[in-house]
Symmetry: C2
Subunit: 558 residues, 2 copies
């Protein structure tokens, strides 16, 4: 069997002018700000009016713990959106933007795959509509203003050792992880150690993705804690006076981007916060705009359901007042086999017992998501090597858990391979069965929130944290941050903090190494394990192969 | 008398859809890639076909040495373009893009002023179409790849002390001028001292502005010298393998941006290299595109004619094969008075003798520009406090130099204030009198080129440079760079290297402190005095005042 690559399929797409895609959602042309002929931003004014409509049902696509076999979450998100449109529903999808820097290390990613993709793929892997560049600028303006404040006399009495705001760049550049700045004498300021993160790790990114509108954006930016005094008094972005200019820099970036699927259905692609130190979902503004314009909005959350869905529910939905109607958990036969102990090289052979052995990972995610009061459907994302017996094993297992698993062939067939899933999802959404509630109340103490997530979602015995961390949480509670939700930063490969423990392990604990306050985004990050916020390039970076070929097509990026 | 501010006028502009502006130059809608409704890029394909037409006459707007009184060079460029259109000519203007960073230090600039502006002003002072962000990304990708190359074994044997390629950010951030990177241990690389420049100082910016097309861009990027070995062998961007990916990152940025004047005439705004360490003109691609589409193309060069026009002629025109038809030298009565010794506070009072005393600065620029074989007209950019006697004094002086000075009121009146200048410029252009030739031949030794500029343009006695600099120039000549033109980096305020020496001084020398090779851009930079390539923010940065006001308008940026 031979397949076209994702980029080949994407380049053959028959794209409609973006105005026609907007028209499918009744977006007037004057409120679509085009970027070329196949991308547009939806104007701030129209976003405000659209959100007021609140007509749509929200469908979350989440997944089992990711394995090297790939589970196809974005592909299923796109396929389900196309499928809903194909059965006559007015649907839109909402996904995240891609980060520029990593594309020069490993190959860039498609948005979806096979016949279920969002286009234009090349632009989406390069500068797209400039949102991430605007975030970089806003973040680094604040950085420059902090050092400038100190340079001109430090009226706020910032302790230069306690500046927590770093700089960002959308580039994989390990040399910038740990730096000394302001060398070179009096006119360059006071030397101090700091560093750069990649742009998607910026709190500004998380804020942009959670802000309701420009006013809320400015307030949240103002709330960012950038440094402390010697007396450990928090200094905020508002103290520095940067939040107004940052908001001006972000005005266009706050407008959601509209593109299209291969089947010419509307797709909002907006925002892209890290899924570890941030919440890993597309923007609230895009989701709410889509909900105002479409009857069904399909969106996804980062990583597996233990991290992605939990944060989607407990951070994004809680804060934005969103109530999801259905959750789709994506699983593959191959990933079940890997959870059942099969090596990647052996995935091509039928192995029903390994599938069965791996299913409890899926089962726990089903139970967890149901625990939020949201009806669950499992999408089995079909791969050509799957056998009927293996698929039947997954279906049987899921049925035992009181849910339904539906085989989907959107990767190979587009919408006509996913109509069964689309029909079932629409039925469930229309039945209004969901009784969504977050996992824990706002007023639960911070450490108890972590314990609740660890016990109820990860099925851990407890959270381990030394006194310093517990004291820090108490301090933040005293300072008024106690009502914030928790953003867990742990490995996505396991329910535990050990990436090698697949399946549905028990008898483990969750050690919290560090806690961080994201006061503007509005969450406390609990770091469990090593989290890399500035990637490096590999020995042979993709950038060395990226170029225009003789036909004028980009090579090496995909 | 009370005037509207530039931003008030700009906000009241009755903009036409950018497609209608493109139609004035016969650009088909499908070849205009819109950015919102009032900005567009012209597609690569159309640029290639337009340039082949070569129909237009090129008009350079340059100026006397700038003074704090302001000379209004961009305002006159815009006004003259509008004036040519008003007298029935098919004209377009070509100017530079603004840098983002400095707007957060001092207030952002208008593109022109009064009734002679290019809009949308706000976008042009913010992210515009993302060109500078793309340049930042391309530059920093190369930086990351250099450190990554060393990290993975340094096969090219780069001497870490001899890496000349820094990083860039479009921000005024003095803390980044001088840094140490790669701290933190083995996984972050080898610590070394380096720093950041502002993006407009990047050689990538100069290259983008001089490249003929994407192929030429890639070749020039490949030629950049980034480091040396211990044996002082040059290591290029091509050795690192970054030029292909950088070209891909710059593909959109290479397409010229089309916007409009207040009078709805076409304006190309593209590129913005420093006018000291680079050549300070808009892109060759934009100029050539405009020349293919319009009968008259009005463009400007940075600073006064001693720096800006000289580089325009000797770098841009030489390299791009452009032959200007007319040069307009902008002067103001106020600036003549300042050159004549009047303080800024006293400019409001009539002072004919001071005007006369200041005129020799203008006279020397006239003579210099004529020396390139280009006919000269002087535009007296009218200010409301100018008296008839003062204007008459400038006119009389210019007539004595064998040129004509024409009073222009485009700032207050738009095109109807500048028809006399437009008519005269068109006559001169149509007469095809110009016999353009650069100042020196390609094969003149590098040091002699510097001497030629210093003696013939600055009227200096000689160039002073120590043996090390002369030896460096000889080395570059031996390495094949001897045919490059010189890019002088000196103060713009004087013909000399002393910014306080106004007028037309003689009896001075030009000390060259440092020379730099810009092998990709294709010039040798001669640095005469302190050149700041990363500005800082002032005590009270504009950023602290920039915000959206209650009407949703941006405040503090202008």
């Amino acid at each position: 069997m031979s397949f076209k690559t994702d980029i080949q399929i994407a380049r053959e797409a028959k794209k409609l002018p973006i105005q026609e895609i907007g028209a499918k959602l009744n977006i007037p042309t004057e409120h679509l700000l085009p970027f070329g002929h196949d991308k547009a931003k939806v104007s701030q004014d129209f976003v405000a009016s659209a959100r007021a409509a609140k007509r749509g049902k929200l469908i979350l696509v989440t997944a089992i713990n990711p394995t090297p076999a790939g589970e196809g979450k974005t592909t299923t998100t796109v396929g389900l959106g196309d499928g809903l449109c194909a059965i006559g529903k007015r649907a839109a999808i909402c996904i995240r933007e891609a980060s520029l820097g990593p594309n020069f290390g490993m190959k860039g990613g498609a948005a979806g795959g096979g016949m279920a993709q969002v286009v234009p793929m090349e632009d989406m892997n390069l500068h797209f509509t400039g949102d991430f560049h605007a975030i970089t600028s806003a973040h680094n303006l604040l950085s420059a203003m902090i050092d400038n404040h100190i340079y001109w006399g430090n009226a706020l009495e910032i302790d230069e050792r306690r500046i927590v705001w770093r700089r960002v760049m959308d580039m994989n550049d390990r040399a910038l992880r740990d730096t000394v700045v302001s060398l070179g004498g009096v006119s360059n300021g006071f030397p101090r150690q700091t560093g750069f993160d990649i742009t998607v790790a910026s709190e500004v990114m998380a804020i942009l993705c959670l802000a309701a509108d420009l006013d809320d954006l400015q307030n949240r930016l103002g709330d960012i804690v950038v440094a402390y005094t010697r007396e450990k008094k928090a200094i905020t972005c508002r103290d520095i006076g940067a939040e107004g200019a940052m908001t001006v820099l972000l005005k266009d970036a706050m407008q959601p981007n509209l593109v299209q699927t291969l089947e010419n259905n509307p797709a909002f692609v907006h925002g892209g916060p890290f899924a570890n130190i941030a919440h890993g979902c597309n923007s609230v503004v895009a989701t709410q705009t889509a909900l105002g314009l479409a009857d069904y909005v399909v969106t996804e959350a980062g990583f597996g359901a233990d991290l992605g869905a939990e944060k989607f529910f407990d951070i994004k939905c809680r804060k934005a007042g969103l109530a999801p109607s259905v959750a789709v958990i994506v699983a593959t036969v191959r990933a079940m086999k890997m959870n059942g102990g099969v090596a990647k090289a052996d995935l091509g052979s039928e192995n029903v017992s390994a599938v069965q052995k791996g299913c409890p990972n899926l089962g726990r995610h089903i139970e967890n998501v149901k625990g939020f009061g949201v009806p669950v459907v499992v999408a089995i994302n079909h791969f050509h090597s799957d056998t009927d017996a293996e698929v039947a094993a997954v279906k049987a297992y899921v049925a035992e858990q009181g849910a339904e698993a539906i085989l989907c062939r959107h990767w190979a067939e587009g919408s006509k391979g996913v109509t069964a899933l689309a029909t079932r999802v629409a039925e469930l959404a229309d039945a209004d069965q969901a009784q969504f509630a977050p996992l824990y109340p706002d007023d639960m103490p911070l450490f108890e929130k972590m314990q609740t997530i660890a016990r109820r979602i990860y099925r851990a015995d407890d959270v381990l944290a030394d006194d310093k961390i517990r004291a820090q949480l108490k301090e933040w509670e005293a300072a008024g941050y106690g009502n914030l939700p928790i953003c867990m930063a742990k490995t996505q490969y396991s329910f535990t903090t050990d990436p090698t423990r697949r399946g549905a392990p028990t008898g483990h604990s969750v050690p919290v190494r560090e806690v961080r306050l994201s006061a503007g985004a509005g969450f406390i990050v609990a770091i469990c394990g090593e989290i890399m916020t500035m990637p490096g390039l590999p020995r042979k970076p993709a950038a060395e192969s990226i170029r225009f070929n003789e036909e004028g097509l980009i090579e090496g990026l995909f």
